[in-house]
Symmetry: C2
């Protein structure tokens, strides 16, 4: 099928770019002796996860047990849930996968550890529980080494679980290089302190899991890091381009749209808005706008309605026609894919893959 | 089923509040001699649309042909697509419903009218085409009366279609009352001018379709208006409460969430973020935050990750526990429902309805 046969809006993934991004990350982690455990939140598609594993990833990361179920059913055999599970129902959903997938989780409370261990014990399983520490993002994660060592001891005392290592998420590091350089020593001081406190208490820390796409190629600069969990590296987006972490040529994902109105002077209206692109704002650069228009660098995607993309073309020399198609690089690739039931893998102008976004809506 | 049996995050719709909102709107339109054609973008569920029709709505409004298909398959027999259809494929998708539903559309270009008329003619149908005029929002819609009369003439000349009336969307009127009062005369001047120009050119304008939830109960103040197309009136949200268009007691929809982490001082983390609530910002009031926490007016829902809701509880006297549940009124009800495969209708603490969000992802 040719892409002209697709209705719009449709999400396109350039497979050549995806392959190149995947290979580049694979080469990087192997050169540094790190392991790669990509986060499937970005694509939510088992076939893409299996492709990452074929390229050398040791398994995947998921946030919700519902996502883990979809990945396991799709053939993924090693799943880390990097999210605090605090209900027995969710713990049971996850542990039901223990026959077919190697499971691990992270927690930052005794409550979560107890619930997970109980579900694991009832299945005769021994679950690897990593402890999350906060390295400055201020979302989840223990704040000090005393709490960390205490929770590690408590996990070791639980039947059905064992202490599996440290986890952190440097979500505050999608910032320019000089700011990353300022933050990195503080993150490392925190990780080193945690690691040393565990060692002093007699714990081995076999896994230190960290990283995210903006820091992915600097993962070897994190102290003690053994694995990284980037998601967006495979596809990239406007946030990463504007932040200097990727180039436009690295962006595998575009949204194919159609011009549906140009009745208002200096405006062009596309057939995709917040229900196509998500309403995620730009987190980098000037924080303005919702996407890059491939064919017109002077067009500003300045606003969205639910089903309309609003372009300001007052600075553009391009002539637009009703019905013509434009490809847009969205602000945030993860939330964009999450809007769609189906996305398309293309090579050049040919549609090679039709993927169901199988873990879409798995918020539980 | 009791709501405690639901996993989280889950979207709950209080059926008593929904019924009250529906009855109130029904009473209003009947008292003013207007017709109600609610926009299904808010809920995307045929059963809810049929409930609105039972309460007196004459049919529904949809944006995309894919939504119209879902509504027709669900039993809705009168569908207006208030969106410029500019591809033959989409026109054919819509016109294929002409056997089972009364169809109408709006356009703001000759291209759209020609494509729709051709698809209609090929089915032996005579499609009602309304022309959209811009009343100040600056998105779609013709800018002047000369273009309007010309397009009305062109539609009348097309085989398979006829001029059905005027359509407008006052999307710029979700503003405080005093600003609405300033805008209204300008909107009315525009509508009156359009209406008069059509009359002078010999056109009857049987339908003038306008309105949206923030102006819904002022619809009778619009000149020549015959029907209104609100969506959110049925459920309401934080945008409408903060803007003064609804009270918290009018909000039928809440998101049931669980506290999953409180490791960071003065923070409470919920198990729903931008993939549960959408990342729509607050368009009214102080434009800050992502939802109202039912149980704690001092908690500030200040940030979201994809699967985490970040509460600042530094000003709160409430004690939070890992695993406890909180109900949140989201910023924007339409984009919140769009994140979920299933939502739940409740009375008190009982789950009475389990609805599939059938038109979710119908962006085409």
């Amino acid at each position: 099928m040719h892409i002209s046969e697709l209705d719009t809006p449709s999400v396109l993934v350039d497979l050549d770019i995806l392959d190149r991004n995947s290979q580049r990350m694979s080469d990087y982690v192997h050169s540094k002796g790190l392991t790669l455990r990509p986060h499937i939140k970005t694509h939510k598609i088992p076939a893409i996860a299996l492709g990452e594993i074929t390229k050398g990833a040791i398994g995947v990361t998921a946030a919700k047990p519902g996502e883990a179920v979809v990945m396991a059913e799709g053939g993924v055999q090693d799943i880390f849930v990097a999210y605090p599970i605090v209900s027995r129902k969710k713990a049971d959903t996850l542990l039901a996968l223990s026959d077919r997938a190697r499971l691990s989780v992270s927690v930052d409370s005794l409550e979560a550890a107890q619930i997970l261990a109980a579900a694991s014990r009832d299945r005769g399983h021994d679950l690897s529980i990593l402890v999350e520490i906060d390295v400055g993002f201020g979302r989840c994660g223990l704040q000090d080494d005393v709490s960390l060592v205490q929770l590690a001891h408590e996990i070791e005392r639980l039947s059905g679980a064992h202490f599996g290592g440290l986890m952190f998420y440097p979500g505050h590091m999608m910032v320019p290089l000089e700011q990353q350089n300022e933050l990195l020593p503080r993150v490392n001081a925190r990780v080193e302190s945690a690691y040393d406190a565990l060692a002093k208490a007699g714990f081995e820390t076999p896994v230190v899991s960290g990283g995210s796409t903006p820091m992915a190629y600097r993962s070897h600069e994190f102290s003690h890091l053994t694995e990284l969990r980037p998601g967006m590296y495979l596809l990239n987006d406007r946030n990463l381009v504007t932040g200097g972490f990727a180039t436009l040529d690295d962006c595998a994902l575009t949204v194919l749209t159609t011009v549906v109105s140009k009745a208002v002077h200096d405006r062009v209206i596309l057939d995709g808005g917040s229900k196509t692109f998500s309403s995620d704002r730009l987190l980098t650069g000037n924080h303005v706008g919702f996407g890059i228009v491939h064919a017109d660098e002077d067009a500003v995607f300045y606003a969205m309605s639910e089903e309309h993309g609003h372009l300001d073309v007052s600075a553009s020399k391009r002539r637009y026609s009703i019905g013509e198609r434009l490809r847009i690089v969205p602000n945030h690739v993860c939330t964009t894919i999450n809007m769609h039931n189906t996305i398309y893998g293309i090579r050049g102008e040919r549609v090679e893959q039709i993927w169901t976004v199988a873990a879409r809506g798995c918020v539980q």
